[in-house]
Amino acid sequence: MLKIKNLRCCYGNIAVVHTVSLSVRQGELISIIGANGAGKSTLLAAVCGLLKNWSGEIEFKGRPLNGMSAPAIVRQGISMVPEGRQIFSPLSVMDNLKMGAYTRFKKDGKSRVAEDLDMVLQMFPILKERAGQLAGTLSGGEQQMLAIGRALMARPTLLVLDEPSMGLAPKIVEMIFSTIQDLSHSGVTILLVEQNARAALKIADRGYVLETGKMVLQGSADELLVDDDVKRAYLGKDYGDFLDERNQ
């Protein structure tokens, strides 16, 4: 469904993602993990049309995304849950959800959007309870649910999540990951970027490990879960002496 080949992303003259390739097949839940500054969010920004300075190939359902604007990419079926939620705080929960369907009103009509709104509110009953409340007054977990609900309102075929666990209490993180897993089981294809490697890999089919802008590992989630390199990538630690404590 999504195929990235030799992606190179730059901020000015500085390259932060170096010749990275990855792919997501229909129905898969893929996790990209890595330490802070590894280039995970930059990669997602390029996929979602939020970063212009990139080269390489990004192909979604066989169509190249080069040069496409962010709204055009949403219309193609990619919807993003951004890092830090970025909900519209002064708007109500209901208005936030409707904003998620912004690109669909003309194409799909109000009735189909209303059906999806019902589906999202059934999935997150707390959002129904808080429908009229200002989004900025929700708790962190509720805001994350709202951000996911808003993304789902665009009826994506690929849902992209950037650090959904950031700043949330462990119990809430568990709930959010369980929701992501349910979404995956319902057939939504998911690309998840996370620092919480263990939690992300537990629900993933496959994973990729980014280190300082380069892909250093990939494999099935069960393979990566037992991999010591993954722990190091997650912690952002580098290799120490080769002959380490085992030989001391």
Binding site: K3, R206, D227, F242, R246
Partner: protein, 415 residues
């Protein structure tokens, strides 16, 4: 959650190439970061990044001399504390060959071997007997692990006589035998000598490892034992068995090419040969964590099949040829360097120079190295006992050094 055994087997060519590129890029990045040997050599090529599978041709080859030069840990790509298994084999030089495995590596090998079993129709209802020579002890462990992974009952490798092996086959109701062609032939001959009929056995399949088919062993085993016979290809030193395996059509061996990227090159020029032509098999690991191999020259001759397999899998198929690309001999899966053997023999006999020829011979189900040594004035002794002792010492030394049985025959110098 879990991945199927050979992920790329059902992918179209584009998807497979994409997955292989992703893995190749990660392998090269990791190798350059963690192994100075790879970093220095790849930097010398001036290649900044791998952007396509064809870029692999720009990377330098590895061969067995590099394994010896960087003995023991110089080619490991992870810290020692991540290593959970260290395999060692006799090696073809003066030092043993070594490879390391992380937990993830072992999981992957287990899946690969389990996949090869599954292709041979081995299931959790089967009982597997692993019978491999001491030089293939590492493979014996991997075939045990792979068998257990699919839920079969496994009888691990044990040093049993052929008579007792036959008893185990019959009495334990073994359905699958993993063995070398030499032992399978010997076992069959012994069976018929003892007037044991194949109907007395529950044997359904034999997985042959270590050597390619010599053109008649597979057919003879099928016809005499009424079993299906499957060939598996692997490397005895590194990284392991079941790198390629036969599917139900027995038309070439399918490479596990989501984990190993194969190339076939002209051994003299190093250039890739056109598809369908024979050449030396070169392997690059795509998922190995501890011990990545980049363009490793196996010394084995093979050729790619240009057409897709009727089984529908898109994995690359090879025909494994009974030839060697270099000055090595393949004896029951163990690679023997003729030059090294000659050197070791010279040292064992304490002679400045020797003249000899080498060949493979099978005695009592065991393939061995037979050295025909030309008797000259240096070697000659009028005391037969002394000469016999010297030859026995040389045989024992070479057997120990190479991990296979070595016999020396003295022949007369032609005038």
């Amino acid at each position: 959650m879990s991945e199927q055994i050979n992920m790329t087997a059902d992918m179209d060519d584009n998807d497979k190439a994409q997955r292989q590129l992703e893995r190749l890029q990660a392998t090269v990045n990791r190798a350059c970061k963690n192994v100075p040997f790879h970093r220095n050599r790849i930097q010398e090529t001036g290649l900044s990044d791998i952007t396509g599978l064809e870029d692999i041709e720009k990377l330098p080859f590895m061969d067995r001399t590099h394994l010896a030069t960087h003995y023991p840990y110089g080619l490991f790509a992870v810290p020692l504390k991540d290593i959970v298994r260290i395999h060692t084999a006799p090696g073809s030089g003066t030092s043993p060959s070594i490879s390391g495995y992380t937990k993830t590596d072992l999981m992957i090998w287990e899946k690969m071997v389990a996949g090869a079993y599954a292709e041979a129709n081995v299931t959790d209802r089967d009982i597997i007997l692993v019978h491999l020579p001491p030089g293939l002890a590492n493979w014996a462990r991997d075939y045990k692990d792979g068998g257990e992974a699919i839920g079969a009952g496994v009888i691990p490798n044990a040093p049993l006589s052929v008579a007792k092996t036959l008893m185990v086959l019959r009495d334990y109701k073994v359905t699958t035998l993993v063995s070398t062609p030499a032992f399978a032939r010997h076992l069959t001959a012994h069976m018929f000598d003892r007037e044991c009929h194949p109907n007395e056995l529950n044997l359904k399949q034999i997985i042959l490892v270590g050597e390619p088919d010599d053109g008649h062993t597979v057919t003879e085993l099928r016809e005499s034992l009424h079993v299906d016979v499957w060939l598996n290809y692997g490397l005895s030193e590194i990284p392991g068995p079941a790198i390629a395996y036969e599917c139900r059509y027995h038309h070439g061996l399918h490479m596990n090419d989501d984990h190993i990227l194969p190339e076939i090159i002209d051994p003299s020029t190093g250039r890739p040969v056109p598809t369908g032509e024979k050449g030396e098999l070169v392997l690059t690991t795509l998922s190995a964590r501890a011990f990545p191999l980049i363009r490793f020259r196996t010394g084995d001759m093979a050729k790619f099949f240009p057409q897709a397999c009727p089984c529908g899998a898109t994995s690359t198929r090879i025909e494994w040829l009974a030839e060697q690309a270099d000055n090595y001999m393949l004896i029951s899966g163990i690679r023997v360097s003729q030059a090294q053997v000659k050197e070791n023999l010279k040292n064992a006999l304490k002679m400045p120079g020797i003249r000899c020829t080498m060949e493979k011979e099978c005695r009592a189900g065991t393939d061995m190295l037979l050295i025909s040594l030309i008797m000259d004035d240096h070697l000659f002794s009028d005391e037969i006992k002394h000469l016999q002792q010297l030859i026995t010492y040389a045989e024992e030394t070479l057997t120990e050094q190479n991990g296979i049985k070595v016999k020396i025959r003295l022949i007369q110098q032609r005038v």
